[in-house]
Amino acid sequence: MDLLIDSFRSAFLLMLSLDHELLVIVGCSLKVSGMATLLAALAGLPCGFVLSFASFPGKRLVITCLNTLLALPTVVIGLVVYAFISRRGILGALNLLYTQTAMVIGQVILIVPVIAVMTIAAIDRIDRRYRLTALTLGANRYQMAWMIFKEARFGVIAAVIAAFGRVIAEIGISMMLGGNARGFTRTMTTAMALEYDKGEFVLAVALGIVLMGFAFAVNMLFHLFQGRTGSDAL
């Protein structure tokens, strides 16, 4: 118990002193996860929109596959991406392994299905009458889709926030593709794992607190948007 209390005390002191190493690690986490979320949103939102609006053979199968990908373990993504970007892989010449770019690629693969599936859910939750109303008022397909997006915006933003929460807390991809290089690819989760291995709990606990702080902020945002969506639905 003393160990835990001491660790917490030291961790707070570390945070209050704005420890350089701590800031670098947090900065790396935010940069990688932020970029991954941005790119995944650019891919996942249109994907979710198209799957919501389009009607084509095999649509259900595609959605089922996306739902299945939600359960994809990060180590599997790490392995697959590793196979492509390792020296022997077809993208080996790009020297991506153990870079932040490699981490971003892996994290994008992790959360594109999350964003797409949650976008589909957000749009499908919008009453069918919105579409019919937009069409009968003379909207073309794109104007109707834009109107639906505006109605579903809180659900869509919640999807992006949830995806960010997913990547900032993941460890498998960061460890396998980033390599946990100090000052370069060391993120909060990989640093915590390392510090734990070393038996140094202070930085691990400090990072854990920061991570939980971010997770709390993300969840607050998520519930805020969910609440807005819920009240709109009424």
């Binding site: 009453d127 009458r129 919105y130 019919l132 109303t133 937009a134 069409l135 009968t136 008022l137 003379g138 909207a139 073309n140 397909r141 104007q143 109107m147 505006k150 109605e151 709109d232």
Partner: protein, 363 residues
């Protein structure tokens, strides 16, 4: 013709929810569409609004066959607006809702504002310009949705039960707005309703749907009859059950001609025995039902067939009718419409009359 439907069906799964061999709807008037739940009213309105495509058959709009492609439908949809039974307003202020259709039509900002104000004034909601849509009551929502539809100046306005779930006061307001839009702006209106009296009040022509098919059996006081005799004083019509009615219309029908006799419930007069003394041409009847309907009183009397009459509340209060009471039915000239029976719709080709046209049949 505004619309011409040819062998139109709409199938959901294995169920045919609409089957209209042929139908024509001329331009510029108000049409009512009557039928019970599940009769296919909404399906038909969606087809007429180009929001759905028929499973088989063709729809022509202004004599041009409709091609159900995105590119072809867009200009048609911009002439026709459907007002849903439970209209939904977009999130945001009322003016934004009305602006949607105008913005899409690339109407400039200043003009948009004046059109929005005009449309809101038309429905008596001018004070709600900046109100949030989510704060409106059911009746207000319907009126704003109606304003949103009228703001784009459509050629056709399709209304799916525009007075459903609306209090009596707002019902009257909505019907007045529709009548005015038709009269002043020339907007053709097709509206679905359960209420026979509303249909009779509003429309010159009535389409009746039952089980997805056009029917002529549902409207109040519509009787299939044959001409049993004619004179200068009137026409004797022979109805079902051996009932004969002399109506004060001098027709020029062929003897034994099949007709459709319509007795307008709004203009039938029900008299107590004391009021009937000394008057000719009255039909003895028994009151079999008294019911309240949209703020008025519907009295059903038995003359060998049930006949409905509509009274205002003050009239009813004065009359003191009771179920089982003996009364007399006075059928004035104003209450009677007769039309020769022609096929309701054709199977293959030929002209397609609507089932009743008060303006044309009132001779």
């Amino acid at each position: 013709m505004l619309y011409e439907l040819e062998a139109v069906t709409r199938v959901h799964g294995r169920r045919t929810v609409l089957d209209i061999p042929a139908l024509s709807i001329p331009d510029g008037k108000i049409y009512s569409l009557i039928g019970p739940n599940g009769a296919g009213k909404t399906t038909l309105l969606h087809l007429l609004a180009f929001l759905d495509a028929p499973s088989t058959g063709t729809i022509s709009f202004r004599s041009v066959p409709v091609r159900h492609t995105e590119k072809s439908l867009l200009p048609l949809r911009r002439q026709v607006v459907l007002l849903d039974q439970y209209p939904i307003l977009f999130t945001g202020p009322v003016w934004k809702n009305l602006e949607f259709g105008l913005k899409i039509r690339k109407i400039e900002r200043k003009k948009r504002k004046s059109l929005i104000e005009e449309a809101l004034a038309q429905v008596g909601m001018q004070d709600f310009f900046y109100a949030q849509a989510s704060t409106l009551s059911g009746g207000e929502t319907k009126r704003v949705a109606l304003a949103r539809a009228l703001a784009v100046r459509p050629r056709v306005l399709l209304c799916d039960e525009p007075t459903a779930n609306v209090d009596g006061e707002n019902q009257g307001v909505i019907l007045d707005i529709l009548e005015r839009a038709n009269r002043e702006q020339g907007i053709a209106i097709v509206f679905a309703t359960h209420s026979h009296s509303q249909a009779q009040r509003m429309s010159r022509q009535t389409l009746i749907l039952k089980d997805g098919r056009l029917s002529d059996l549902l409207r109040d006081n519509v009787f299939m009859a044959t001409i049993a005799g004619q004179s200068e004083n009137g026409t004797v019509c022979s109805l079902q059950n051996g009932v004969e009615i002399r109506v004060p219309l001098a027709g020029t029908f062929a003897s034994s001609c099949r007709i459709r006799l319509f007795l307008n419930p709004d203009h039938l007069i029900v008299l107590r025995e004391s009021e009937a003394e000394g008057r000719d041409g009255l039909l003895a009847a028994t009151v079999v039902m008294i019911a309240s309907e949209n703020g008025r009183i519907r009295i059903t009397v038995d003359i060998g067939l049930p006949v409905h009459a509509i009274l205002s509340r003050p009239e009813y209060a004065r009359s003191r009718f009771t179920v089982g009471g003996k009364v007399f039915l006075c059928i004035g000239e104003k209450a009677v419409l007769i039309e020769e029976v022609f096929p309701l719709y054709r199977r293959q080709t030929g002209s397609v009359p609507l089932i009743s046209d008060r303006s044309s049949s009132n001779r």
